[in-house]
Symmetry: C2
Subunit: 375 residues, 2 copies
Amino acid sequence: MTTPEIAPTSAGADGRLPDGLDTPCLVVDLGIVERNTRLITSQLAQRRVALRPHTKTHKSVRLARVQLDAGAQGITVGNLGEAEVMRAGGIEDIFVAYPLWAVGPKAHRLRALLDGGPLIVGLDSVAAAERLAAAAGGAAQPLSVMIEVDPGNRRTGVRPEQAGRTAAAARSLGLDVAGVFAFGGHAYQGVDAVAAAAADEVDTLTRAVESLRAEGIESRVVSAGSTPTALGAATGLVTEIRAGTYLLGDRQVRALAARAMDGLALRVAATVVSTAVEGQVVIDAGAKILAKDQAPYIDGFGELVGYPGAIVERLFDYHGVVRIPPGTRPPHLGEVVAVLPNHACPVVNLVDDFVVLREGAFVDRWPVDARGRNG
Amino acid sequence: MTTPEIAPTSAGADGRLPDGLDTPCLVVDLGIVERNTRLITSQLAQRRVALRPHTKTHKSVRLARVQLDAGAQGITVGNLGEAEVMRAGGIEDIFVAYPLWAVGPKAHRLRALLDGGPLIVGLDSVAAAERLAAAAGGAAQPLSVMIEVDPGNRRTGVRPEQAGRTAAAARSLGLDVAGVFAFGGHAYQGVDAVAAAAADEVDTLTRAVESLRAEGIESRVVSAGSTPTALGAATGLVTEIRAGTYLLGDRQVRALAARAMDGLALRVAATVVSTAVEGQVVIDAGAKILAKDQAPYIDGFGELVGYPGAIVERLFDYHGVVRIPPGTRPPHLGEVVAVLPNHACPVVNLVDDFVVLREGAFVDRWPVDARGRNG
């Protein structure tokens, strides 16, 4: 590791919040956001690898612009709804890193996007390629596709040795095969899994590139990554990294990918509404704003900034029960506290906008433009 | 038990979906909804107890109207945002069953609601009562409050023997003390915990009523319940039940409260987008529509209707990985499947509207009016 670990409550995590917030709400520190994206962009640039951030993390056109302004070469999205919102926001270069099944309304939506600019879409089956080709047929420009290969995450993606056959079928259907992509999501099992998952991405993609080459197809784009594997996978034939969570940060990536970030920019601001039951306080941030993601290497559903050991232990829809370690000072009834969530992506999707700060001072409210766009 | 258990895939769960749905989306069968609310209303009426359904489950004015039309005496909400939406929808009798901390924007919002009609709010501290009284001061009508007591859920609520003192303080501040309420959320630990949690609600509320009486305050309203404890707690001094999830149903309440429901009305419609990895299929319903609620008595994050043993085993933001039991027929690539979620409340909050069906036929799309209203 070349940079120090982010300490649990450091890096902008002093918990300062402006007065008068109507809780619960989401707060993002723009200074940390800018430093995070400059850091990873420059670290990747040193490796001659581009950043194509996954914008499902923030679903915000303005935050995508911050990433592009700092040198990202385009964006990644998780579905057509996000692509539509980002395109409407003026962003041209979009990769839908998802095995789209383009029939019915989705076929029409895909075609409308393609008529408005270049588009790259993932696939992991010949049957999906057939639907994509039918949906894109007759468009002014060809639809570009990326063949997904599975680096051991066991979610989506063909085996690397099948990639060439799938790519050849896609090409014969009139699709433009841009290259191959992989997601080493098994990195999220724990810090000990991260380096191996990054190596799996590189190895799988290398074999996929060879498989395409055997069919006479050269991969212009070789796309890897997640925030944990971002730096480890930026090597060999890999041309771009699709990290997303690094921008806002959360307890998961703090544990797995500290060297890829300068700080944690996202907080849930909450008010202590009950201290009636001993040994705990209850805040007005529940499952409907903190989400219920858990991981074996972090306890509970969130932590209170500035209150070491104060963990959100139980979540109801609108109540978060925070355990107060014996002998420590609890926040008082009515106090506004800052909560670090476990996983930024589902949290952002639960609000219509976030409060944007810089160094703790109010800047603006920015909409979560693609909130609720699930397909 | 007076009515049979709901079988895993019965009661409207035949999975029939109309053609042309753009997945993922939420589907609600209105026939089942109507039968569910008639059933619980009549079961409670036999016990001379009213239903005040918790509308955080559906956040829909139109579904609240279905409940009121079937005999519910008013509604429960979890925060001011939901109260504002329901009031704007023309619903008068609203109980905010939450220990509101009414300062800043919330004080103004509370006052506006009170100026528009009667309002009942929960509290579990004298300090909260002081803020409520200040916010409500000078309004045309008094603010009604309910004292929350803890029946062993260890979340919010004073001990029953403290309830009278808290109530007396509230009364001396000019608040109208309507009565007491409790939530036996520990019923959700498992089916063996349900009867005891219901008994805890009744016992705690009985002691709270006595505590108020010792201060010269008679409880007009004694409010208990959740869907699991609804029928068990509808006894003794209890005057109303605040069940919510019974209306739509989910895997949790199917396991805990089958006799309170006629069927499960809620489905997530999803498309199989990948079959590339053996032994599983991947659907386009991930954590951002199924939510990540789990319980020890149900496996995974959801189940596929009509495919016994097909469980949503892993969730990514937009991918649900469904395990297919060996030797069983999987859904095919591109098939639209119906998923039963674990917990209805967070799922509804993740979409802007749902597709309303009756007997499998399309009726309309209804908005989730209070989606994202968290405070």
